[in-house]
Protein backbone atom coordinates (compact mmCIF):
# COMPACT_ATOMS: atom_id res chain seq x y z
CA UNK A 1 0.00 0.00 0.00
CA UNK A 2 1.32 3.39 -0.92
CA UNK A 3 2.10 5.84 1.81
CA UNK A 4 0.05 8.52 0.11
CA UNK A 5 -3.00 7.01 1.74
CA UNK A 6 -1.70 7.64 5.19
CA UNK A 7 -3.30 10.52 6.93
CA UNK A 8 -1.77 12.70 9.54
CA UNK A 9 -3.08 10.93 12.59
CA UNK A 10 -2.06 7.55 11.35
CA UNK A 11 1.33 8.79 10.38
CA UNK A 12 2.13 10.16 13.80
CA UNK A 13 2.45 6.57 14.83
CA UNK A 14 6.08 5.69 14.49
CA UNK A 15 6.72 3.45 11.56
CA UNK A 16 9.32 0.79 11.93
CA UNK A 17 11.12 1.24 8.66
CA UNK A 18 14.78 0.75 9.21
CA UNK A 19 15.47 -1.50 6.30
CA UNK A 20 17.09 1.16 4.18
CA UNK A 21 15.85 2.74 1.01
CA UNK A 22 16.98 0.51 -1.77
CA UNK A 23 17.63 -3.15 -2.17
CA UNK A 24 19.39 -5.63 -4.34
CA UNK A 25 16.93 -8.16 -5.64
CA UNK A 26 18.41 -11.33 -7.09
CA UNK A 27 16.06 -13.56 -9.01
CA UNK A 28 17.09 -16.88 -10.44
CA UNK A 29 14.69 -18.68 -12.68
CA UNK A 30 14.00 -21.03 -15.46
CA UNK A 31 11.33 -18.93 -17.01
CA UNK A 32 12.37 -18.10 -20.50
CA UNK A 33 12.93 -21.06 -22.79
CA UNK A 34 13.83 -23.91 -20.48
CA UNK A 35 11.95 -26.01 -17.98
CA UNK A 36 13.33 -28.30 -15.33
CA UNK A 37 12.88 -31.98 -15.97
CA UNK A 38 13.88 -35.25 -14.40
CA UNK A 39 16.49 -37.50 -15.93
CA UNK A 40 13.84 -39.33 -17.92
CA UNK A 41 12.55 -36.09 -19.41
CA UNK A 42 9.37 -35.79 -17.37
CA UNK A 43 8.60 -32.29 -16.11
CA UNK A 44 9.73 -31.42 -12.59
CA UNK A 45 6.61 -31.59 -10.45
CA UNK A 46 5.36 -28.92 -8.08
CA UNK A 47 6.79 -29.35 -4.61
CA UNK A 48 10.28 -30.14 -5.82
CA UNK A 49 12.99 -27.85 -4.46
CA UNK A 50 14.74 -25.11 -6.41
CA UNK A 51 17.46 -23.08 -4.75
CA UNK A 52 19.71 -20.24 -5.79
CA UNK A 53 22.93 -19.70 -3.91
CA UNK A 54 26.64 -20.25 -4.06
CA UNK A 55 29.38 -22.67 -3.06
CA UNK A 56 32.16 -21.41 -0.86
CA UNK A 57 34.72 -22.70 -3.33
CA UNK A 58 34.70 -22.73 -7.11
CA UNK A 59 32.87 -25.75 -8.47
CA UNK A 60 33.07 -27.68 -11.70
CA UNK A 61 31.40 -30.82 -12.91
CA UNK A 62 34.25 -32.77 -11.33
CA UNK A 63 33.18 -31.42 -7.96
CA UNK A 64 30.03 -33.49 -8.12
CA UNK A 65 31.11 -36.65 -9.86
CA UNK A 66 31.20 -39.56 -7.51
CA UNK A 67 28.92 -37.99 -4.92
CA UNK A 68 26.69 -40.69 -3.56
CA UNK A 69 24.20 -38.72 -1.48
CA UNK A 70 22.05 -35.70 -2.13
CA UNK A 71 23.16 -34.07 1.08
CA UNK A 72 26.71 -34.10 -0.25
CA UNK A 73 25.60 -31.53 -2.80
CA UNK A 74 25.03 -29.14 0.08
CA UNK A 75 28.59 -29.26 1.33
CA UNK A 76 29.86 -25.70 1.22
CA UNK A 77 26.53 -24.55 -0.15
CA UNK A 78 24.73 -21.36 0.92
CA UNK A 79 21.16 -21.00 -0.26
CA UNK A 80 20.05 -17.41 -0.81
CA UNK A 81 16.49 -18.25 -1.79
CA UNK A 82 14.40 -21.27 -2.62
CA UNK A 83 11.03 -22.23 -3.99
CA UNK A 84 9.03 -25.41 -4.35
CA UNK A 85 6.20 -23.80 -6.27
CA UNK A 86 6.09 -23.46 -10.00
CA UNK A 87 6.44 -20.08 -11.64
CA UNK A 88 3.66 -18.47 -13.66
CA UNK A 89 1.40 -21.44 -12.91
CA UNK A 90 3.40 -23.52 -15.35
CA UNK A 91 4.78 -26.86 -14.13
CA UNK A 92 8.51 -27.23 -14.53
CA UNK A 93 9.25 -23.54 -14.22
CA UNK A 94 10.82 -22.10 -11.12
CA UNK A 95 11.71 -18.68 -9.77
CA UNK A 96 13.35 -17.77 -6.48
CA UNK A 97 14.24 -14.33 -5.21
CA UNK A 98 16.67 -13.05 -2.61
CA UNK A 99 15.91 -9.50 -1.50
CA UNK A 100 18.97 -7.96 0.11
CA UNK A 101 18.54 -4.68 1.96
CA UNK A 102 21.04 -1.93 1.46
CA UNK A 103 24.16 -2.56 3.42
CA UNK A 104 24.15 -6.30 2.91
CA UNK A 105 27.20 -6.75 0.76
CA UNK A 106 28.11 -10.17 2.09
CA UNK A 107 27.42 -11.87 -1.20
CA UNK A 108 28.92 -9.38 -3.62
CA UNK A 109 31.00 -11.13 -6.24
CA UNK A 110 29.79 -14.62 -5.39
CA UNK A 111 29.25 -17.00 -8.30
CA UNK A 112 25.59 -17.91 -8.36
CA UNK A 113 24.47 -21.47 -8.86
CA UNK A 114 21.09 -23.15 -9.22
CA UNK A 115 20.61 -26.32 -7.18
CA UNK A 116 17.52 -28.36 -7.99
CA UNK A 117 16.14 -31.55 -6.48
CA UNK A 118 13.21 -33.81 -7.20
CA UNK A 119 11.90 -33.73 -3.61
CA UNK A 120 10.90 -30.96 -1.24
CA UNK A 121 14.45 -30.82 0.10
CA UNK A 122 17.81 -31.32 -1.52
CA UNK A 123 18.83 -33.92 1.04
CA UNK A 124 15.66 -35.88 0.38
CA UNK A 125 16.12 -35.91 -3.38
CA UNK A 126 17.15 -38.85 -5.48
CA UNK A 127 17.88 -36.68 -8.47
CA UNK A 128 19.71 -33.38 -8.45
CA UNK A 129 20.67 -30.74 -10.97
CA UNK A 130 23.43 -28.17 -10.57
CA UNK A 131 23.56 -25.35 -13.09
CA UNK A 132 26.00 -22.50 -13.31
CA UNK A 133 27.14 -19.73 -15.62
CA UNK A 134 30.31 -17.70 -15.41
CA UNK A 135 28.25 -14.52 -15.86
CA UNK A 136 26.08 -15.19 -12.81
CA UNK A 137 27.82 -12.95 -10.30
CA UNK A 138 26.14 -11.18 -7.38
CA UNK A 139 26.35 -7.46 -8.22
CA UNK A 140 27.11 -4.57 -5.94
CA UNK A 141 24.33 -3.66 -3.56
CA UNK A 142 23.10 -0.15 -4.37
CA UNK A 143 23.43 2.70 -1.92
CA UNK A 144 20.99 5.11 -3.56
CA UNK A 145 17.24 4.98 -3.47
CA UNK A 146 16.71 3.11 -6.70
CA UNK A 147 16.98 -0.65 -6.40
CA UNK A 148 19.14 -2.94 -8.46
CA UNK A 149 17.43 -5.97 -9.89
CA UNK A 150 19.56 -8.83 -11.08
CA UNK A 151 17.91 -11.67 -12.92
CA UNK A 152 19.55 -14.81 -14.22
CA UNK A 153 18.02 -17.66 -16.12
CA UNK A 154 18.96 -21.11 -17.30
CA UNK A 155 18.54 -19.85 -20.84
CA UNK A 156 21.37 -17.32 -20.44
CA UNK A 157 24.21 -17.87 -22.89
CA UNK A 158 26.96 -19.87 -21.27
CA UNK A 159 24.87 -21.85 -18.80
CA UNK A 160 26.27 -25.28 -18.11
CA UNK A 161 25.07 -28.28 -16.21
CA UNK A 162 27.62 -29.27 -13.59
CA UNK A 163 25.41 -32.17 -12.60
CA UNK A 164 22.54 -33.04 -14.90
CA UNK A 165 22.19 -31.99 -18.49
CA UNK A 166 20.85 -29.31 -20.78
CA UNK A 167 18.81 -30.72 -23.61
CA UNK A 168 17.57 -28.81 -26.61
CA UNK A 169 14.04 -29.27 -27.80
CA UNK A 170 13.15 -31.92 -25.29
CA UNK A 171 11.04 -30.26 -22.64
CA UNK A 172 7.49 -29.05 -22.94
CA UNK A 173 5.72 -26.23 -21.17
CA UNK A 174 2.09 -26.95 -20.55
CA UNK A 175 0.34 -25.62 -23.61
CA UNK A 176 3.37 -23.93 -25.06
CA UNK A 177 4.89 -26.59 -27.22
CA UNK A 178 8.30 -28.14 -27.15
CA UNK A 179 11.09 -26.15 -25.56
CA UNK A 180 14.41 -26.94 -23.93
CA UNK A 181 14.90 -28.64 -20.62
CA UNK A 182 17.41 -28.54 -17.81
CA UNK A 183 17.47 -32.10 -16.61
CA UNK A 184 18.31 -33.46 -13.22
CA UNK A 185 20.52 -36.52 -12.83
CA UNK A 186 20.06 -39.53 -10.63
CA UNK A 187 22.43 -39.75 -7.69
CA UNK A 188 24.13 -43.12 -7.47
CA UNK A 189 22.81 -44.95 -4.43
CA UNK A 190 25.45 -45.52 -1.76
CA UNK A 191 25.23 -49.26 -2.24
CA UNK A 192 25.59 -48.92 -5.97
CA UNK A 193 28.46 -46.55 -5.53
CA UNK A 194 30.10 -48.89 -3.09
CA UNK A 195 29.67 -51.84 -5.39
CA UNK A 196 31.08 -49.80 -8.23
CA UNK A 197 34.06 -48.84 -6.13
CA UNK A 198 34.58 -52.42 -5.05
CA UNK A 199 34.36 -53.57 -8.64
CA UNK A 200 36.94 -51.06 -9.75
CA UNK A 201 39.18 -51.99 -6.86
CA UNK A 202 38.81 -55.62 -7.76
CA UNK A 203 39.73 -55.02 -11.35
CA UNK A 204 42.77 -53.05 -10.29
CA UNK A 205 43.83 -55.82 -7.94
CA UNK A 206 43.29 -58.46 -10.59
CA UNK A 207 45.33 -56.48 -13.07
CA UNK A 208 48.10 -56.05 -10.53
CA UNK A 209 48.11 -59.75 -9.73
CA UNK A 210 48.33 -60.71 -13.40
CA UNK A 211 51.26 -58.32 -13.90
CA UNK A 212 53.07 -59.86 -11.00
Amino acid sequence: MNKMTKIAVALIVALAMNSGYAALTITGATASSYNFALSNGSILTDGAIFQIGYYNTAVTSASFSGLSSASAFQTGWTSLASSTANAFDIPGLRSATADLATGINTYEGKSLVMLVGNASTISGSTQVGVFSNSSWIVPVNPTGITPTDYAFDVSDVGTQALFGSLRLGTGAYAGDGVVNSANLQAIPEPSSASLLALGVAGLVALRARRKS
Binding site: M1, N2, K3, M4, T5, K6, I7, A8, V9, A10, L11, I12, A14, L15, M17, S19, G20, Y21, A22, A23, T25, T27, A29, A31, S32, S33, A87, F88, D89, I90, L93, S95, T97, D99, G144, I145, T146, P147, D149, Y150, A151, F152, D153, S155, Y173, D176, V179
Partner: protein, 325 residues
Amino acid sequence: MKKLNVALAILATVAMAGNAQTTATTDIVGYQTSTIAGKGSGSSFLSFVPNNLAKAAIHTGAGTAAGTVVTLTGASLSGSIGPVSGVPTHYLLVKTGTGAGFVSDVTAFTSGSVTTADDLSSSIPAGTTVSVVPHTKLTDILGTSAGLLITGGASVTAADNVYLVDSTGTLKTYYYKTGIGAGWKNSSNVDATATIVYPNESIIVSRKQVAPVSVVTVGSVASEQAKIVFSQNVNSACSAAPIAITLGSLYPTISGGANVSAADNVYLINPTTGALETFYYKTGIGAGWKTSSNATADANRDISGGYLVQRKASTAAILTQSKTW
Protein backbone atom coordinates in the same frame (compact mmCIF):
# COMPACT_ATOMS: atom_id res chain seq x y z
CA MET B 1 10.73 15.37 -20.63
CA LYS B 2 7.14 15.67 -19.69
CA LYS B 3 4.66 17.65 -21.67
CA LEU B 4 1.55 18.94 -20.10
CA ASN B 5 -0.55 19.02 -23.18
CA VAL B 6 -3.81 19.02 -21.41
CA ALA B 7 -7.09 19.26 -23.09
CA LEU B 8 -9.82 19.80 -20.64
CA ALA B 9 -13.42 19.39 -21.37
CA ILE B 10 -16.26 20.06 -19.08
CA LEU B 11 -18.78 17.39 -19.65
CA ALA B 12 -22.32 18.26 -18.83
CA THR B 13 -25.06 15.77 -18.85
CA VAL B 14 -28.56 17.00 -19.33
CA ALA B 15 -31.21 14.60 -18.26
CA MET B 16 -34.77 15.15 -19.27
CA ALA B 17 -37.54 13.75 -17.14
CA GLY B 18 -40.92 14.69 -18.47
CA ASN B 19 -41.16 18.45 -18.42
CA ALA B 20 -38.59 18.73 -15.67
CA GLN B 21 -35.01 19.41 -16.65
CA THR B 22 -32.12 18.47 -14.42
CA THR B 23 -28.55 19.42 -15.15
CA ALA B 24 -25.79 17.38 -13.60
CA THR B 25 -22.23 18.53 -14.03
CA THR B 26 -19.47 15.97 -13.77
CA ASP B 27 -15.83 16.50 -12.92
CA ILE B 28 -13.54 18.14 -15.40
CA VAL B 29 -12.05 15.40 -17.51
CA GLY B 30 -9.27 15.45 -20.00
CA TYR B 31 -6.06 13.85 -21.06
CA GLN B 32 -2.39 14.40 -20.52
CA THR B 33 0.57 13.34 -22.58
CA SER B 34 3.81 12.38 -20.87
CA THR B 35 6.98 11.34 -22.60
CA ILE B 36 9.09 8.43 -21.48
CA ALA B 37 12.49 9.38 -22.77
CA GLY B 38 14.65 6.99 -24.76
CA LYS B 39 17.86 5.76 -23.22
CA GLY B 40 20.16 7.88 -25.34
CA SER B 41 23.78 6.81 -25.19
CA GLY B 42 23.49 5.24 -21.75
CA SER B 43 22.04 1.91 -20.78
CA SER B 44 18.83 3.34 -19.37
CA PHE B 45 17.08 6.65 -18.77
CA LEU B 46 14.56 7.53 -16.07
CA SER B 47 11.30 9.37 -16.62
CA PHE B 48 8.39 10.28 -14.39
CA VAL B 49 4.82 9.54 -15.43
CA PRO B 50 2.33 11.38 -13.22
CA ASN B 51 -0.94 9.88 -12.06
CA ASN B 52 -3.07 12.93 -11.43
CA LEU B 53 -6.13 12.18 -13.53
CA ALA B 54 -8.58 9.96 -11.69
CA LYS B 55 -11.20 7.49 -12.75
CA ALA B 56 -14.83 8.53 -12.40
CA ALA B 57 -16.19 8.23 -8.88
CA ILE B 58 -18.79 5.53 -8.37
CA HIS B 59 -20.42 7.53 -5.62
CA THR B 60 -20.25 11.10 -4.41
CA GLY B 61 -22.29 12.50 -1.57
CA ALA B 62 -22.39 13.40 2.08
CA GLY B 63 -20.43 11.20 4.42
CA THR B 64 -20.60 10.62 8.14
CA ALA B 65 -17.56 9.07 9.77
CA ALA B 66 -17.27 7.04 12.93
CA GLY B 67 -13.73 5.82 13.18
CA THR B 68 -12.85 4.10 9.97
CA VAL B 69 -16.46 3.51 8.96
CA VAL B 70 -17.90 6.17 6.71
CA THR B 71 -21.64 6.11 6.14
CA LEU B 72 -22.55 7.39 2.70
CA THR B 73 -25.85 9.17 2.36
CA GLY B 74 -27.82 7.88 -0.59
CA ALA B 75 -25.24 5.29 -1.57
CA SER B 76 -26.12 1.92 -3.00
CA LEU B 77 -22.75 0.28 -3.45
CA SER B 78 -22.39 -3.11 -5.05
CA GLY B 79 -19.88 -5.16 -6.96
CA SER B 80 -16.18 -5.46 -6.21
CA ILE B 81 -15.26 -2.47 -4.12
CA GLY B 82 -13.19 -3.99 -1.37
CA PRO B 83 -9.70 -5.43 -1.82
CA VAL B 84 -9.14 -8.33 -4.18
CA SER B 85 -6.42 -10.70 -3.00
CA GLY B 86 -5.27 -8.00 -0.61
CA VAL B 87 -4.99 -5.31 -3.25
CA PRO B 88 -7.36 -2.37 -2.78
CA THR B 89 -9.61 -1.56 -5.69
CA HIS B 90 -11.14 1.73 -4.51
CA TYR B 91 -10.33 4.63 -2.28
CA LEU B 92 -12.33 7.19 -0.37
CA LEU B 93 -11.60 10.82 -1.22
CA VAL B 94 -12.51 13.72 1.03
CA LYS B 95 -13.81 16.45 -1.27
CA THR B 96 -14.78 19.31 1.02
CA GLY B 97 -13.64 20.90 4.24
CA THR B 98 -10.18 21.39 5.61
CA GLY B 99 -9.37 17.73 5.07
CA ALA B 100 -10.27 17.87 1.39
CA GLY B 101 -7.79 15.88 -0.61
CA PHE B 102 -7.11 13.13 1.90
CA VAL B 103 -7.56 9.65 0.53
CA SER B 104 -7.64 6.22 2.09
CA ASP B 105 -8.10 2.75 0.71
CA VAL B 106 -11.48 1.08 1.03
CA THR B 107 -10.97 -2.12 2.99
CA ALA B 108 -14.61 -3.21 3.22
CA PHE B 109 -18.03 -1.97 2.23
CA THR B 110 -21.75 -2.37 2.58
CA SER B 111 -24.43 -0.93 0.39
CA GLY B 112 -24.39 2.31 2.33
CA SER B 113 -20.94 2.58 3.86
CA VAL B 114 -17.24 1.96 3.41
CA THR B 115 -14.50 1.09 5.85
CA THR B 116 -11.21 2.81 5.19
CA ALA B 117 -7.65 1.81 5.96
CA ASP B 118 -7.08 5.04 7.88
CA ASP B 119 -9.26 6.84 10.36
CA LEU B 120 -10.43 9.87 8.41
CA SER B 121 -13.13 10.85 10.90
CA SER B 122 -11.42 14.07 11.92
CA SER B 123 -11.45 15.12 8.28
CA ILE B 124 -15.07 14.15 7.72
CA PRO B 125 -17.25 16.24 10.00
CA ALA B 126 -20.99 16.28 9.33
CA GLY B 127 -21.82 17.66 5.93
CA THR B 128 -18.53 16.69 4.33
CA THR B 129 -18.70 15.48 0.76
CA VAL B 130 -16.78 12.33 -0.05
CA SER B 131 -16.33 10.17 -3.11
CA VAL B 132 -15.61 6.51 -3.65
CA VAL B 133 -13.19 6.26 -6.56
CA PRO B 134 -11.74 3.23 -8.37
CA HIS B 135 -7.98 2.99 -8.16
CA THR B 136 -5.93 3.52 -11.27
CA LYS B 137 -3.85 0.46 -12.07
CA LEU B 138 -0.42 0.23 -13.58
CA THR B 139 -2.04 -1.45 -16.55
CA ASP B 140 -4.39 1.51 -17.02
CA ILE B 141 -1.41 3.78 -17.60
CA LEU B 142 1.21 1.63 -19.27
CA GLY B 143 -1.02 -0.95 -20.88
CA THR B 144 -0.81 -4.67 -21.16
CA SER B 145 -0.41 -7.29 -23.86
CA ALA B 146 -0.97 -5.75 -27.30
CA GLY B 147 -1.38 -2.26 -25.87
CA LEU B 148 1.82 -2.26 -23.89
CA LEU B 149 3.53 1.13 -24.06
CA ILE B 150 6.93 0.25 -22.66
CA THR B 151 9.17 -2.60 -23.76
CA GLY B 152 8.79 -5.95 -22.08
CA GLY B 153 11.37 -8.68 -21.86
CA ALA B 154 12.10 -12.20 -20.76
CA SER B 155 13.40 -10.98 -17.40
CA VAL B 156 13.52 -7.89 -15.26
CA THR B 157 17.05 -7.35 -16.48
CA ALA B 158 16.05 -7.29 -20.12
CA ALA B 159 12.82 -5.31 -19.91
CA ASP B 160 12.11 -1.65 -19.25
CA ASN B 161 11.65 -1.27 -15.51
CA VAL B 162 8.94 0.53 -13.60
CA TYR B 163 9.45 1.72 -10.03
CA LEU B 164 6.73 2.35 -7.48
CA VAL B 165 7.15 3.10 -3.80
CA ASP B 166 5.88 0.45 -1.41
CA SER B 167 4.47 0.87 2.09
CA THR B 168 7.93 0.87 3.66
CA GLY B 169 9.12 3.75 1.54
CA THR B 170 11.22 1.61 -0.76
CA LEU B 171 11.16 1.67 -4.53
CA LYS B 172 10.07 -1.66 -5.93
CA THR B 173 10.55 -2.85 -9.47
CA TYR B 174 7.98 -4.07 -11.96
CA TYR B 175 8.29 -5.17 -15.56
CA TYR B 176 6.28 -6.69 -18.33
CA LYS B 177 7.39 -10.25 -18.92
CA THR B 178 7.18 -11.49 -22.47
CA GLY B 179 7.07 -15.06 -23.70
CA ILE B 180 6.29 -17.80 -21.23
CA GLY B 181 4.09 -16.51 -18.40
CA ALA B 182 3.68 -13.13 -20.08
CA GLY B 183 2.27 -10.25 -18.06
CA TRP B 184 3.15 -7.66 -15.46
CA LYS B 185 5.47 -9.05 -12.79
CA ASN B 186 7.44 -7.71 -9.90
CA SER B 187 11.14 -8.38 -9.78
CA SER B 188 10.43 -11.68 -8.02
CA ASN B 189 8.36 -12.78 -11.02
CA VAL B 190 5.14 -12.63 -9.02
CA ASP B 191 2.06 -11.50 -10.91
CA ALA B 192 1.61 -7.74 -10.61
CA THR B 193 -1.39 -7.21 -12.87
CA ALA B 194 -3.44 -5.74 -10.03
CA THR B 195 -0.76 -3.23 -8.99
CA ILE B 196 -2.29 0.16 -8.31
CA VAL B 197 -0.87 3.64 -8.67
CA TYR B 198 -2.11 5.99 -5.98
CA PRO B 199 -3.59 9.41 -6.66
CA ASN B 200 -0.87 12.00 -7.16
CA GLU B 201 1.83 9.35 -7.26
CA SER B 202 4.35 9.34 -10.07
CA ILE B 203 5.54 6.23 -11.80
CA ILE B 204 9.25 6.07 -12.55
CA VAL B 205 10.11 4.31 -15.77
CA SER B 206 13.61 3.16 -16.59
CA ARG B 207 13.67 2.99 -20.37
CA LYS B 208 16.26 0.72 -21.96
CA GLN B 209 15.32 1.36 -25.56
CA VAL B 210 16.47 4.25 -27.74
CA ALA B 211 13.03 5.31 -28.88
CA PRO B 212 10.97 7.50 -26.55
CA VAL B 213 7.39 6.62 -25.78
CA SER B 214 4.37 8.86 -25.32
CA VAL B 215 1.93 7.99 -22.58
CA VAL B 216 -1.53 9.47 -22.68
CA THR B 217 -3.46 9.36 -19.44
CA VAL B 218 -7.14 10.14 -19.30
CA GLY B 219 -9.36 10.97 -16.37
CA SER B 220 -10.88 13.52 -14.07
CA VAL B 221 -9.01 16.51 -12.74
CA ALA B 222 -9.42 16.91 -9.01
CA SER B 223 -12.11 19.39 -8.08
CA GLU B 224 -10.57 20.02 -4.70
CA GLN B 225 -7.20 20.72 -3.14
CA ALA B 226 -4.78 17.85 -2.70
CA LYS B 227 -3.16 16.50 0.43
CA ILE B 228 0.13 14.82 -0.35
CA VAL B 229 1.62 12.96 2.57
CA PHE B 230 5.36 12.47 2.90
CA SER B 231 6.07 9.84 5.50
CA GLN B 232 9.41 8.47 6.59
CA ASN B 233 11.65 7.16 3.81
CA VAL B 234 10.91 7.61 0.14
CA ASN B 235 7.66 9.03 -1.27
CA SER B 236 6.72 9.39 -4.90
CA ALA B 237 4.50 12.31 -5.91
CA CYS B 238 3.50 14.65 -8.69
CA SER B 239 1.40 17.75 -9.12
CA ALA B 240 -2.22 17.08 -8.16
CA ALA B 241 -3.34 18.43 -11.52
CA PRO B 242 -1.65 18.94 -14.87
CA ILE B 243 -0.31 22.32 -13.86
CA ALA B 244 3.18 23.41 -12.97
CA ILE B 245 4.46 23.32 -9.43
CA THR B 246 7.93 24.31 -8.41
CA LEU B 247 10.67 22.74 -6.38
CA GLY B 248 10.48 25.77 -4.12
CA SER B 249 6.87 24.99 -3.20
CA LEU B 250 7.94 21.94 -1.20
CA TYR B 251 9.59 24.01 1.52
CA PRO B 252 8.80 24.52 4.36
CA THR B 253 6.43 21.53 4.20
CA ILE B 254 9.44 19.25 4.04
CA SER B 255 12.32 19.82 6.40
CA GLY B 256 15.42 21.75 5.55
CA GLY B 257 18.73 21.30 7.23
CA ALA B 258 22.29 22.48 7.52
CA ASN B 259 23.39 19.91 4.96
CA VAL B 260 22.04 17.27 2.64
CA SER B 261 22.34 14.60 5.30
CA ALA B 262 20.27 16.49 7.82
CA ALA B 263 17.56 17.75 5.48
CA ASP B 264 14.78 15.94 3.71
CA ASN B 265 15.92 15.15 0.19
CA VAL B 266 14.13 15.71 -3.09
CA TYR B 267 15.06 13.59 -6.08
CA LEU B 268 14.52 14.82 -9.60
CA ILE B 269 15.59 13.36 -12.89
CA ASN B 270 18.47 15.03 -14.68
CA PRO B 271 17.05 15.77 -18.15
CA THR B 272 20.42 15.11 -19.77
CA THR B 273 21.62 11.99 -18.03
CA GLY B 274 18.30 10.44 -17.02
CA ALA B 275 19.62 9.77 -13.53
CA LEU B 276 18.22 10.89 -10.21
CA GLU B 277 19.73 14.01 -8.68
CA THR B 278 19.45 15.05 -5.06
CA PHE B 279 18.26 18.44 -3.84
CA TYR B 280 17.59 19.85 -0.40
CA TYR B 281 16.68 23.07 1.29
CA LYS B 282 19.66 24.46 3.16
CA THR B 283 18.90 26.37 6.32
CA GLY B 284 21.14 28.83 8.12
CA ILE B 285 23.95 30.55 6.29
CA GLY B 286 23.40 30.47 2.53
CA ALA B 287 19.85 29.30 2.96
CA GLY B 288 18.03 28.11 -0.12
CA TRP B 289 17.61 25.18 -2.45
CA LYS B 290 20.84 23.36 -3.11
CA THR B 291 22.13 20.37 -4.97
CA SER B 292 23.81 17.61 -3.03
CA SER B 293 27.12 19.32 -3.74
CA ASN B 294 25.75 22.59 -2.34
CA ALA B 295 25.46 24.38 -5.66
CA THR B 296 22.48 26.71 -5.91
CA ALA B 297 19.47 24.93 -7.37
CA ASP B 298 16.68 26.44 -9.42
CA ALA B 299 13.81 26.79 -6.98
CA ASN B 300 11.49 27.59 -9.89
CA ARG B 301 12.15 24.29 -11.59
CA ASP B 302 8.88 22.64 -12.61
CA ILE B 303 8.43 19.34 -10.82
CA SER B 304 4.82 18.72 -11.77
CA GLY B 305 5.57 15.52 -13.67
CA GLY B 306 7.05 13.80 -10.68
CA TYR B 307 9.47 13.94 -7.82
CA LEU B 308 10.62 11.83 -4.92
CA VAL B 309 10.82 13.04 -1.36
CA GLN B 310 12.98 11.22 1.12
CA ARG B 311 11.57 12.13 4.48
CA LYS B 312 14.03 11.76 7.33
CA ALA B 313 11.73 12.28 10.32
CA SER B 314 9.41 9.61 11.62
CA THR B 315 6.54 12.09 11.57
CA ALA B 316 4.85 12.84 8.30
CA ALA B 317 4.91 16.09 6.39
CA ILE B 318 1.68 16.93 4.61
CA LEU B 319 1.75 19.13 1.55
CA THR B 320 -1.50 20.91 0.73
CA GLN B 321 -1.61 21.76 -2.94
CA SER B 322 -4.24 24.46 -3.25
CA LYS B 323 -6.67 24.23 -6.11
CA THR B 324 -5.47 26.79 -8.61
CA TRP B 325 -6.86 25.16 -11.71
